[in-house]
């Protein structure tokens, strides 16, 4: 096949995912951004730039930068030792510990916000620390989520690290500390840089956690976009912030891609033997323990609080989930929202899986020319973009561009699943790409020379390797979709809400029963995503969550 024909074939296959991305991502986001730039029918760039000089905007930008930086550093400080302990040291209960510490990544932000509030709020056990509504709480929440990213990314790399250079250094007289500094950390540097970039990215775009813990006193760029859009209807300001965010995030993604030059979490990899815990492991074990407290503390207090009413144990909060709450807090019972959430998550899962598989297959096929390689790299980057765009921007963009002719999809039952599928798409692609890229193309060629058609070659070469990652990606997408709040909150109708949206409404309404129901709902939601994630964890797919 000639180069031109191959490029044409590539473009044809890319057409479906590109069309979906175009209609459901580029169109809404540019529609939203366009409204900011053309407020009164004519281009007003100056107005957008003026937004960035407003004091509250500058505060939000500064707040985002410093909380994200501190949270990234802390997540590294706790996550690196934990990655070492969980992947290199033989401690009892290691598998369970690892599962507990990696689950927070998919816990819905609303749930975590509620849990932290319970722990440090006015009547919580840690109220005396005076952290309620303080930036410390927000940073702690960010670390809660993102230490698991560090553990996954760096732990995977650490586990497959060739132990021989370290042994060589030790044989040359280096102490364990010197081995760590001179051999191990330099070898892990790509993984650490990659993890830090991703963590910073997640911190800088965190929405639910800042909204629930920051209240009105503190806002980040993301929550500021939300406030400007929904409360103040200042689309110009929101557009300016969205563009700023998109630029910064694109730069971060490029940096992460550069740091990733060294191998992704591979498929065929060596496993280092675990070592017995030694005295020198003390600090690492301590850091792991602190992280464990940070993760278990809020969740435990959430579970306990959901089961207590007026100082006594009770399941009344859970039973009340069959009602729409007190004082007409909701239009439908919470159980309806649960069913609705599950239904939407199923739709979002098959959509993101279908798109993700196509994209992953596209970007991992062997390129025959430089232009083809470039085209595939551009496609790869393009489908990472949803990671960088504020879910709020996406959600509101859906409303303004897809809510009226020619694309009136506002009442389509697939609108929310599509939005959630796009949010989950980068995660799905990142799970599948390293696995597909790890398959030696010559295996497929070997099958072909033995007489296997392309489909049969796929069945004998790709399928045995990819079925587990596909399941893992499905679980991952399902969990993300269940907990998605930012985009969904714009798109749900009050008579068909999702569980995270219902929880947020219940917190906002006065009344002990409503709050109790929010707690019970949070436990149900958290338990469901955690269960899905634990199943995914059992599949042992190294690339899950490494981004």
């Amino acid at each position: 096949m000639s180069t031109a024909r191959r490029l044409a074939a590539l473009a044809a296959t890319a057409l479906v995912p590109l069309a979906v991305l175009g209609v459901f991502f580029v169109l809404p986001v540019s529609g939203m951004v366009g409204r900011g730039f053309w407020p009164h029918g004519h281009l007003d760039v100056g107005g957008v730039l003026d937004v960035l000089t407003r004091p509250e905007i500058r505060r939000a930008v500064w707040f985002t930068v410093w909380t994200s930086t501190v949270a990234t550093l802390l997540a590294g400080a706790l996550g690196l030792p934990a990655a070492y302990v969980l992947h290199r040291v033989a401690i009892p209960g290691r598998t369970w510990l690892r599962a507990i510490l990696v689950v927070p990544f998919v816990l819905p932000t609303v749930v975590v916000g509620v849990a932290f509030e319970l722990l440090i709020g006015q009547s919580g056990p840690l109220a005396f620390l005076g952290l309620d509504g303080s930036p410390v709480a927000i940073v702690a929440g960010l670390v809660f989520f993102n230490a698991s990213v560090v553990i996954r990314v760096v732990g995977g790399a650490w586990e497959s690290l060739d132990p021989r250079p370290a042994e060589a250094a030790a044989a040359l007289g280096a102490s364990p500390r010197q081995v760590l500094r001179d051999v191990t950390l330099p070898a892990l540097r790509p993984a650490i840089v990659s993890a830090s970039t991703v963590v910073f990215l997640f911190c800088a775009t965190a929405f639910g956690i800042v909204l629930t813990l920051g209240g009105l006193r503190y806002s980040s760029v993301e929550t500021q976009i939300y406030l400007l859009t929904t409360n103040l209807l200042d689309l110009q300001g929101a557009a300016a912030l969205s563009i700023l965010q998109l630029l910064v995030v694109t730069l971060l993604l490029l940096a992460a891609a550069a740091a990733r030059r060294t191998p992704d979490a591979g498929v065929a990899r060596s496993r280092a033997r675990l070592r017995r815990p030694a005295r020198s492991d003390g600090p690492a074990l301590l850091a792991t323990f602190v992280l464990l407290l940070l993760v278990v503390g809020p969740i435990a207090s959430l579970v306990v609080a959901s089961l207590r009413i007026d100082g006594a144990w009770s399941t009344a909060n859970y039973r009340a989930l069959q009602t729409p709450g007190a004082h007409q807090a909701l239009l439908v019972p919470v159980t309806d929202a649960v069913v609705n959430s599950l239904r939407i998550a199923v739709d979002a899962t098959w959509m993101s899986l279908l798109l993700g598989l196509t994209v992953a297959a596209l970007v991992t096929r062997r390129s025959r020319s430089r232009s083809e390689r470039h085209l595939r790299a551009v496609l790869d980057g393009l489908f990472m973009l949803p990671l960088g765009v504020s879910a709020v921007t996406l959600g509101f963009g859906f409303l303004v561009t897809l809510g009226r002719p020619p694309l009136d999809l506002r009442d389509s039952p697939l609108l929310i699943p599509v939005a959630q599928a796009l949010v989950a798409l980068p995660l799905v692609v990142r799970v599948l790409v390293p696995v597909l890229a790890g398959i030696d193309d010559r295996l497929r060629q070997a099958a072909a020379t033995l007489g296997a058609s392309p489909v049969r070659a796929l069945a004998v070469v790709d399928l045995p390797v990819i079925w587990k990652p596909i399941l893992a990606a499905a679980g991952f997408a399902f969990a993300c979709s269940l907990g998605e709040f930012g985009a969904t909150s714009f798109l749900v109708r009050d008579d068909r809400p999702t569980l995270p949206v219902v929880i947020f409404r219940l917190i906002g309404h006065p009344g002990d029963l409503n709050f109790g129901m929010a707690l019970a709902g949070s436990v149900v939601l958290g338990a469901t995503t955690a269960a899905v994630m634990l199943i995914v964890e059992q599949l042992r797919v190294p690339s899950v969550g490494t981004l």
Binding site: S369, Q445, A446, T449, S453, V460
Partner: protein, 342 residues
């Protein structure tokens, strides 16, 4: 089959991003014969093989008897390719790997089992049916890959450096096995290698490739006896190429007609008291079978051998006999052997 070769490749070219990897290659091979494509690494020989299999986008023609297969997709060409590192399916047992082509062809189960056993016996791996590829040694894996390729009953078997991943002793043994297996099965095969001894052990015909072009081809003994140019001679295992007056002197001493240059095997000169050439020993090295010398003669420094019972030392004067069957007259000079790529 005279006149109608089984495989014929005409003017085949492959290039990557404008960089030529194979340029205008032409090959012909009769049914049941084995052709070795010999060349240094990076010369394009593997690309040529993959293009014949239909795995590389190429211009030119590939024909099997009267059928033009240039545009036929790989899996319908009926050419099996055995990869350098085997490329066994890692999750399938040895039996299921070997049986894979049979399964594609819907061979009945009992017939397939019998054929698998037969092929494993042919490659000397009876009893390995249930093993996984990861539990096999490198040599065993290559044998399984060969059995799997043969199970496809290919019209043409393509072998991409089948032995080069193995250590020296094993390579020698497996090369002999490979020859026996190919002859027993009457397989038409093209093998690519960078090792001339491997080529001689396995093939009937030889094509020498350099810088993307086939520089010489023919029956293996012919190519061996008269290399097309000095670089080819050196690649075929000749130790040295001598030119000009020195070449004339050596050829005269051997009693064969004059030529521009001459390629010498290491054993072309041997120490003999009645030899026509005189020289001074510069270096002596002992090998298990003979002594290897470097001798300074009127024609420059040359390689020579001596039997182990002689004890020449550096500085000694010796007389040398010239063996005309261990030298090859070359048409060109070494300076002009590099063909330019367009």
């Amino acid at each position: 089959m005279a006149g109608t070769p089984a495989l014929s490749v005409r003017d085949l070219s492959v290039s990557y991003d404008g960089t030529p990897a194979v340029v205008g290659a032409g090959l012909e091979l009769d049914e049941g014969q084995v052709l070795a494509v010999l060349g240094p690494s990076g010369c394009g020989k593997s690309t040529l093989l993959r293009a014949i299999a239909g795995l590389e986008p190429a211009t030119g023609r590939v024909r099997w008897h009267d059928q033009d297969v240039s545009t036929t997709p790989t899996h319908r060409r009926g050419f099996a390719l055995m990869f350098q590192d085997g490329q066994l399916f890692p999750h399938l047992t040895v039996a299921r790997n070997v049986g894979y082509p049979l399964r594609i062809r819907r061979t009945p189960r009992t017939a397939a089992a019998a054929r698998i056993a037969e092929l494993l016996e042919l490659v000397g791996l009876s009893g390995f049916e249930g093993r996984l590829p990861s539990t096999l040694s490198g040599g065993e894996r290559q044998r399984v890959a060969l059995a799997r390729a043969l199970a496809a009953s290919p019209r043409l078997l393509l072998l991409d450096e089948p032995l080069s991943a193995l250590d020296a002793g094993l390579r020698q043994r497996l090369a002999d096995d490979l020859r026996r297996i190919l002859v027993e099965a009457g397989t038409t095969a093209v093998m690519v290698t960078h090792d001339h001894e491997e080529a001689f052990a396995v093939a009937d015909r030889l094509a020498v490739m350099r810088d993307g072009r086939i520089v010489q081809s023919g029956p293996i003994a012919d190519v061996w006896r008269s290399p097309a140019d000095p670089a080819t001679a050196l690649f075929l295992g000749y130790a040295r190429v001598v030119e000009g007056a020195a070449a004339a002197g050596l050829l005269a001493a051997a009693g064969i007609p004059d030529s521009v240059s001459v390629a010498l095997r290491r054993s072309a000169l041997s120490v003999a008291d009645d030899g026509p050439l005189k020289g001074e020993v510069v270096d002596v090295r002992t090998t298990p079978g003979q002594l290897r010398l470097v001798v300074r003669t009127d024609h420059g420094e040359l390689d020579a051998v001596a039997s182990l019972d002689r004890r020449p030392a550096p500085g000694d004067d010796v007389r040398l006999r010239v063996d005309a069957t261990r030298m090859a007259r070359l048409p060109g000079r070494s300076a002009s052997h590099q063909p330019a790529l367009d």
